[in-house]
Symmetry: C2
Subunit: 420 residues, 2 copies
């Protein structure tokens, strides 16, 4: 496909490099939310956007909005986050923002500053949650899902509370949910992101359509048996908590495979944990993910049943404790089709994949706004690391495909969002 008139993906690439030089040190990106480097990045962004006839404001939760008013108040929102984890990659978050800048430029130029629908760019506040341990701050205030009680008590490692930290940036904690006002007239939401895994890399594809964000079930599983001397206790007398846990582990993975999800036993702790004693208690953590809520529920129920079975066989007991959970957020079927089409048009091959990690797009979707995400390949299959990278030709392709998606979505909004 030839480039849309007025679009210049290489300009977005130059912008990315400019931001990188401004906010990165030898350890990686340092755009931690609610810090001076983050504020500097936002100032840089605002200067870029000042070249366009946009209305600019920060909402009650600190999300930064740029609005190019159109003939219709119905608005297409393009969103990302300029904040990064400490020592982060150069693309995670800001790629979407900067691609959005370029697409706003193209739309402004194409329609002589008067597009048929309103187009908005949002830089969400504190997507990463690296400082306070709670991600999606700004977008969950926007969606109304932010748990104020929980957020009020969060502190960073220096004991500074979240309300105190954001007050320094002009945000009044008790009013953050006023950001829900920004949902008015929101017709669709698009987000581009570097993939945080190796799926596209393994398939040798530049771009993919994200089907939604996976639901997560996170539990601690504790087996309890009896400590006994390793030399004097016959095998048939033992209540070995580790052995029961070890036997269960492959079955948990097999259950996951049957349902097409992912799961991880991330830690194993044994007590008393000495070479001369049978393990009395063994605690595993389990993280299960699936895009389908029924499949996730089945994975959990079957894992439960397996643990009970192996505990009974091993003459030990087992208890489960939920650490965290979140429901799957499937994206909008029509926008998924548009995204797939835009990718196919741009590079000839597409791929549909769920996102294991959460993104701001999940919160926007939970607010009832039709949403989709596009992923671009990550060279090492990783993010949240200074070696995070994407091939330059893929960066150019993703801006082009994302722009094509924006064009098709605008047309859909203009048509009253029909089922196509």
């Amino acid at each position: 496909m030839t480039l849309a008139p007025f679009l210049d993906p290489s300009r977005a690439l130059a912008d990315l490099k400019e931001l990188r030089a401004l906010t990165e040190n030898a350890d990686g990106a340092q755009r931690l939310a609610f810090t001076p480097t983050w504020a500097k990045a936002r100032e840089w962004l605002s200067e870029k956007m000042a070249e366009l006839p946009v209305e600019t404001h920060t909402d009650a939760a600190g999300n930064l909005w740029f609005t190019l008013p159109g003939d219709s108040e119905q608005s297409l929102i393009i969103g990302g986050h300029i904040d990064s984890v400490p020592n982060g990659g150069w693309l995670d978050g800001c790629l979407n923002v900067i691609a959005g800048v370029e697409i706003m430029r193209r739309i402004a130029a194409e329609y002589d500053n008067e597009p048929p629908v309103t187009v908005r760019l949002v830089d969400w506040a504190d997507e990463e949650g690296a400082r306070f341990g709670k991600s999606l701050f700004g977008s969950s205030a926007f969606s109304g899902n932010l748990d104020l009680e929980e957020a009020r008590g969060l502190c960073d490692r220096n004991g500074i509370s979240l309300p105190t930290a954001i007050a320094e940036y002009g945000i009044h904690f008790e009013s953050v949910k006023d950001a829900t006002r920004e949902t008015k007239n929101a017709a669709a939401y698009l987000e581009l992101h570097i993939e945080q895994g190796p799926v596209l890399l393994d398939l040798d594809l530049p771009l993919g359509v994200v089907l939604g964000t996976c639901g997560v079930e996170r539990h601690a599983i504790s087996f309890h048996g009896q400590a006994a001397h390793s030399g004097s206790t016959p095998m048939n007398r033992r209540k070995d908590a580790f052995l029961a846990a070890a036997k269960m582990a492959p079955e948990i993975y097999a259950i996951t495979e049957r349902h097409g999800g992912v799961c991880t036993i991330g830690s194993c702790h044994t007590e008393p944990g000495i070479v001369t004693s049978v393990v009395e208690s063994c605690r595993l953590t389990l993280d299960q993910r699936h895009l389908s809520a029924p499949a996730l529920a089945a994975m959990l129920a079957e894992a439960h049943a397996a643990s009970e079975r192996f505990a009974a066989e091993g003459n030990v007991t087992v208890t489960w404790e939920r650490i965290w959970q979140i429901a799957p957020v499937p994206f909008h079927p029509q926008l998924i089709e548009f995204c797939d089409h835009a990718i196919l048009e741009t590079c000839g091959h597409s791929h549909r994949l769920p996102s294991g990690p959460l993104h701001d797009a999940a919160e926007v979707s939970r607010a009832g706004i039709p949403t989709v995400m596009m992923f671009v390949q990550s060279l090492h299959g990783i993010s949240h690391n200074k070696i995070e990278d994407t091939r330059e030709d893929h960066l150019l392709l993703c801006v082009q495909a994302f722009d094509a998606l924006a064009t098709q979505t605008m047309a859909w909004i203009l048509a009253g969002k029909p089922e196509v």
Copy 2:
């Protein structure tokens, strides 16, 4: 079987209770070697033995010897250890010593202080090794197997070295191996001990013949894979160190079962050990035991092979590190027969079992002296704990059977130790 003339097992029981009252507090027995309570216990023992016409001395390693000279210099040795672990049980160690006292009384009375062979009672110094982390101190000095280089550097938790601690009790560290002189004329060695496991309890038998002490292979097994995000890493891309270790564990136990040994995976440590990451490295400790050296070697080799197989299947690596090993020590076939016979005569049923834990008897046997042990049932199947206990009728039976064993062994020595 009727009691041998002059033998009074109830006197041994009264002695046990007397020692218990003297050296136990609310947390259990406190006869830690090279401490005042241990010295008090030995003083009490010496007073008991002073009623008999015995020669008494402490050897170069602090082992306390009582010798009733006989017509022949060839000697029957009965041994035990009056030292206990801190907060230990009332029977572990001192049962053998006190049964020995009663048997010496019986022999002295029966032979009017002139038995046909010399009979010796030894209280080994620091069998438990609880203070310096090294068991069988006195008996390994006697056998010549004590590693002086290693022992010289041992310190307790207060930084006091073993040579300094034993000097307070008149033992010159550099001369401890002079204790090997005590092996002179040693014709046979007998030791009675409370079982430290539940084998006899499960069989509902009071007494058992110990076939020898198991060999031990103790290793750390480390699997190494790759840390990866639990949400964004597809299952087929993972190098999961925990999963490989978990799959191997049941196979290690199955190998043990095939060979009739025991094994224990006593600890499992995972890195980074967080709920959102695939395990990069997983370290297990493995303790394998068998009375047969070839069987133990086969268990180890097969476990090695299994670990390599599961590592390869899981796309991870595995390394082994030996923590400790000791060869099996089988006891003397003739004395095993005598012990079995004595038990059968005394209570109608016997049982042959290996000892997982080590005992002083293993060192005596390694010195080339025909050796056997007798076990008495432990009520809860445990030791090294203040709840350690044995039924009173079983305590009376064990003294009686052990005395019968001594009688038969003396006759065997007198006959020139023929193969029967």
